[in-house]
Amino acid sequence: MTDNINLNLWIIPLLPLAGAAINGLFGRHLPKAVIKLVALTFTGASFAYAVWAAVQGSHIKLPHIETLSFDWIVAGSFHVPFGFYLDQLSTVMMLIVTGVGFLIHVYSVGYMEHEGGYYRFFAYLNLFMFFMLTLVLSNNYLLMFVGWEGVGLASYLLIGFFFLKDSAANAGKKAFIVNRIGDFAFLIGMFLIVKNYGSLNFTEVFNSISNSPLEVGWGLLTVVALLLMFGATGKSAQVPLYVWLPDAMEGPTPVSALIHAATMVTAGIYMIARSHIIFDKAPHALEVVAVIGAVTALFAATMGLAQTDIKRVLAYSTVSQLGYMFLACGVAAYSAAIFHLMTHAFFKALLFLGAGSVIHAIGGEQDMRRMGGLRKLIPVTFWVVTIATFTIAGFPPLSGFFSKDEILWQAFSSPHGGSAILWIVGFITAGLTSFYMFRLWFMTFFGELRLGKADAGEESHAAHAPAQAQHAAASASHGHGEDGHGHGGVHESPWIMLAPLVILALLSVGGGWIGIPESMGGSSSIGHYLAPAVASAAETPQPADLEASEHSKELMFAGFSVGVAALGFFLAWLLYYKRPELPDRITARIHGIYNVVYHKYYVDEGYGALFVKPLLALSTHVLWRGVDQTIIDGTVNGAGSASKGIGSELRRMQSGNIRSYAAWVAIGGAAVVAYMIWRGVGK
């Protein structure tokens, strides 16, 4: 247990950065093979190094802090170092990021084979890795913010990778801006921290805060916590800032898997977990986090019910799952959140990659209504997706079951605001999750392939059609889009894509076993492992006698969850396999509600009408045309023309007539004389 060992943690993020730099600067002139090699080598090395560091980390006292010899920002007493921080939490995150990241890189090599801008893609992807690792490894909020913003940038670039499509460019921009709104709160939170604690270093800040008393009302800590949380809602796509994530599916599928499922979106969770000391002291903030998590989970799940785009379903599912994690954080069950974060990274990455494989196989189609029967055609994909689906639905002993169940249990039982309501919401969400996932499963892999058929649903949702047509047109005309592979027939993906799927599938299955709760005879080892990093200081050890009853209760709740998952499976089977005509009838019956859900509750439109449009109108008509051009410039130019006006009036003195000139002299003279006489007399 030595403390002065230097792990050179900076190498971990820097390796992908080097890859990004090489590919970004020179990639245009490099052959594809070299590009692949560079991308994989550097991420792989990073992963390997991360593993090594993790192993080392088990030998040294955590948290382990390293600072580079030069500071990033110095202003008086305020220092921000390039500093890295390794504890259990960041170890887990680091491993997830490098591991899943590496797998997805591998997958991408196959997936992006036929796309233009190969080097660009990998440069961006490596850049993302760099920022994400910076985020999880930094030892202060500001450096974390670097990663925070940086992953936003990478996400912007990758979402807009197919920039020829307006929708992709729009989605990228939307993601960045919405994230910025969250960042805005994060920044203010940091300002408050700096103002009150004089530092942004985790150790210093947390030390100061842990000495302060629990905040009862709405004080500073609550405000800070809420601001940080708001920042997290942006990055982790929570209500009200979730809107960017579904649109982000415009990006290539590996990107969706890596950034918008496995890693980046979990940054918010990580940040809350990292800041748990602040949240622990601010119970009101925790409540808000829990409520937002619960609301998001449910809300997103309902939206997932009606989506027809396979990736969008997964996107809403991601939002919903992130809601779970938020919920966990909100009840101070940080280790549960991180646990779910990890399993989610596995199975959701798997789902996305699987979906990618599906899309890849059928030539770029993403609408589930045109899929079906793919089970036979792409068996490997089918099986891995099946595993993932069952995992996310929460069937034991798959990993999702353990992690989700942990959250649900904590939502109910946590001493930090756990309540039945939260549990019920989570419970319903679990059902919904199961339903829409199996809906996806059935629609994609069962029945018959409906590719190229215009179905009834298409027309009834004509509103959606033009947009899609546009995509198709845009992609087709430039041969640049995802569906531009140009090889007919449904086919299984190459092994370079399938291998990561398989590995992820294994992880999805087994990844949860490190967190089997004691009630099920496990050791909850992840919980224990993370405890030093995230355990709430206020967390009181539960009395031993209570534990037994608690355990049985926990088991009972787990039973409920499995039950509701099964119910979801049944309904999906009924509606999308057994009687596929039913859904249309039902939607016709509840047309109003369905439409609302289908259109994602019109939230985007609402934001547009409420904020974007008025803002643009205000800027154009009031500020620019009004204030700038009319009032200010009007005043300025008015002063100019007024001067000229005065000038032209004054010029009228200059009549050209000698007699009138003399008269001016005379009257002027009279005035002068009059004044002087007055002076003289007054003397």
């Binding site: 009228r652 009549s655 050209g656 007539n657 007699r659 005379a666």
Partner: protein
């Protein structure tokens, strides 16, 4: 005995009549004459003050004023001739090419 102020008042009246004439007359020559009238009025003041102060400087001054007036008259009338040649008029109201 005539009070000094009488002379001065007379001078002032003449001066102001000169000013009035300058402003009211249209003929350039007459206007020029009104200037001569003003100068005469000034001369009267000088002589009166010279008497008052028992100081002949005032009278010498008058002498110089006359010289200047003569020179001015020569130049002025030459200018008037030049104007008449270009304009064919002596009416000041018509000499207003330059204005504004």
């Amino acid at each position: 005995m005539v009070p000094l102020s009488w002379y001065l008042i007379l001078s002032a009246i003449l001066f102001c009549l000169g000013v009035s004439a300058f402003i009211l007359k249209r003929n350039i020559i007459t206007i020029f004459m009104s200037i001569e009238l003003m100068l005469n009025a000034v001369n009267l003041s000088f002589v009166a003050f010279a008497n008052y102060w028992h100081n002949l400087d005032g009278q010498v001054f008058v002498f110089f004023v006359m010289v200047v007036a003569a020179a001015e008259a020569a130049v002025g009338l030459a200018i008037i001739i030049a104007v008449f040649r270009t304009r064919e008029t002596l009416n000041v109201d018509r000499v207003n090419l330059l204005k504004l």
